[in-house]
Subunit: 412 residues, 2 copies
């Protein structure tokens, strides 16, 4: 008998039939003797429609009113989910953010959770009732509705799991777990039984799109065990059918490399021959920060003449035009030339084992060299090595690396 938070994403509650299928999964947990708190997203497409209305009225709308509008999507699903559970014979009720209360800061549209009052919910859960909570929404000190920003329902679920002291937070989604890489690129990709929080964070921020980065961050901090699993498959006879995201210490067989991530959403900017004096990096990056352009990899080399330097960095492809304009307009920034490329992709090797094993980087470089793939930029962290390659080579690179590190299904 465990207390479980079960979160269903937008595609898992896209219509009434899917809501009923999701409810059936909850019913199975309840019948197995577990207490369940359900967190729901808006039906897929609904949030985009509501955000669209707000943008149509005013691009610079009042974010407090934006939250009133967009939080409705999850409110609708929570009522429908409670009904669906009741129909299947389970006692259930919806708890809106202001009813719990699920308290947040007043940064509307991107509020941060301050406190989740678990008392009432725990009382009901102990009475055998399923609590259905709309994700993404909370309430401010002033009693107004707030939202946590896109993808915030994962974060709601993890915060609730922490507040309730849940044994596990199950994230039901449209994939059945975390894979060694994208199975559409490498058919031999293998589903991981476990992965560490640190690795999951790297994969999430690298575009694996399975979990919100922030939710993994909170789960790690609060020690909430996360499971990613499919809402479209029946998991009969398996206790943990998905991928479990846990603390490093809980991972029995540590693997050197857990997965290969990649992202095509990249652009590269090189500024040639910037004067090599203190403060030059700030002159480059502070205008970009002001323009809200996120910088990913940064590489700086001293140029041959000893007086100037070349700076290369990567950004999201959608930001490239704005970045060029920002740099061209930047005051006091001297340089010879701007070189940009939007046909680049990032490939990353992620593995907690890297911390204690050497040779991972060498194998990466050797593998790519053997395939004749040129590495444009290299960036590393404790548990990750990322490289930038020409976009045309991304699939070849991922397949070669997946094989080189022995990640295929057969190899496990």
């Amino acid at each position: 008998m465990a207390l479980i938070v079960a979160k269903f994403g937008g595609t898992s509650v896209a219509d009434v039939e899917r809501i009923e299928r999701a409810a059936a999964k909850v019913v199975r947990e309840v019948k197995a003797g577990n207490k369940v708190c359900v967190v729901v997203s808006a039906m897929s497409g609904v949030t985009n429609q509501l955000v669209g209305y707000c943008g149509e009225i005013n691009k610079l709308h009042d974010t407090r009113e934006y939250d009133v509008v967009v939080s409705s999507g999850e409110q609708i699903t929570s009522g429908l989910m409670a009904m669906a559970l009741q129909k299947q014979g389970i006692s259930a009720r919806s708890w809106l953010g202001w009813q719990i209360p699920f308290k947040t800061t007043d940064q509307h549209g991107r509020a941060r959770i301050t406190d989740v009052d678990a008392e009432l919910l725990l009382e009901r859960l102990n009475d055998g009732e399923v609590c259905v909570v709309p994700g993404f929404q909370g309430v401010t000190e002033a009693g107004r509705i707030s939202t946590l920003g896109r993808g915030g329902s994962d974060t709601s679920a993890v915060a609730l799991a922490a507040a309730l002291g849940a044994e596990r937070c199950d994230i039901y989604t449209d994939v059945d777990g975390v894979y060694t890489t994208d199975p559409r690129v490498v058919p031999q990709a293998r589903k991981l039984k476990t992965i560490s929080f640190e690795e999951m964070m790297e994969l999430a921020s690298l575009g694996a799109k399975v979990l919100q980065t922030r939710s993994v961050e909170i789960a790690m901090k609060k020690g909430v065990a996360l499971q990613v699993l499919s809402s479209f498959e029946d998991h009969i006879g398996s206790d943990l059918p998905g991928t479990l995201v846990v603390n490093e210490e809980k991972i029995m067989e540590e693997e050197l490399v857990s997965g290969i991530a990649f992202s095509r959403d990249e652009a590269k900017v090189t500024i040639l021959r910037v004067p090599d004096v203190p403060g030059v990096a700030s002159k480059v990056f502070s205008p970009l920060a002001k323009a809200a352009i996120n910088i990913d990899m940064i590489v700086q080399n001293v140029a041959a003449d000893g007086k100037t330097t070349d700076i290369t960095f990567t950004i999201a492809r959608a930001d490239l035009e704005r970045a060029i304009k920002t740099l061209e307009d930047a005051p006091d920034l001297e340089y010879e030339k701007l070189i940009t490329a939007d046909d680049v992709a990032k490939v990353s090797v992620v593995g907690i084992g890297m911390k204690s094993h050497s040779g991972v980087a060498e194998k990466m470089f050797a593998t790519l060299a053997a395939k004749g793939i040129n590495i444009q930029v290299i960036s590393t962290s404790e548990i990750k090595i990322s490289i930038l390659v020409e976009e045309d080579y991304v699939e070849l690179a991922v397949r070669a690396l997946h094989a080189a590190y022995g990640l295929e299904s057969g190899a496990a």
Copy 2:
């Protein structure tokens, strides 16, 4: 400088463009120096969609969860309306039912208003802010969302107007006022400048579909002046462009007959030769009441033999099949024969002047006789005479009566 409640129905806020047009009407009131509290319905179609989801999941759903789901429609519009007003330079904010609080009983799905806390709203209105309130929704003592039943936004607006002590409650809709009859049937129909609450109630319940009957009832009880006007026309240079619904005493030129209403949604049931003993009416009508079938007109005649009686009554056409089955299955009800007709229509002459003038009924009967129209059933109230005719004659009857009582535009 007045305090006005302005209510916009579903077609008046059907999309972003219409919300902006509705907001422009509010802005004009504010610029004229008035304080305005806006009440909004859901965008047209939204409530039906949400009700549909609930019905799909469970026809016997938990009405508390139904209210969580369907109240979202008005929540969305209230946020969008606040944004639209802000964009036009007006200070505005949305106030959800639970934030006001707008208190109701816990009869979810058809809750009745118990108390509207006007204090906070009045404070903001006096500060020059426009308050935007979602119609149809409230909050129960237990802190759960409630709804007032279909068409409840009119009722919300009137209750708010009463609580705020508003000078007037403007109901913006897709017609520009209350007419002497349906202009699609009688092109010479004339828009009324004023009408009494009593007349409006008769017209509303007779299918004029301009205002919720219950909202007129509350307005009469609380003495709230109602104006029905179009949200699709510009009312420049006219203080009261619509129809004002007020107390009888405030109507300057009382007219004998204010309007001709009609309804095609009728069916007639005659039970022949029921034993004429005490309690027989109860044997007929109590099974129908239990089946939730509303009875409209009732006529009972003693039959020629002195021992039996014939009972005729009218119901909504949609209920006819169920009514027949209910009567056939009724215990202890003896009769010779059931005769039913679903090709009947009701025509009503409404006018507060009837109270003090005679001859209104005679004129009605004479007019219809002159056109050869047979009257099947007659029913009267203090300010109304209703008759049942064959459906094919309804338009002829309405046109003849409209002319007979001198209601045409030219005649005023």
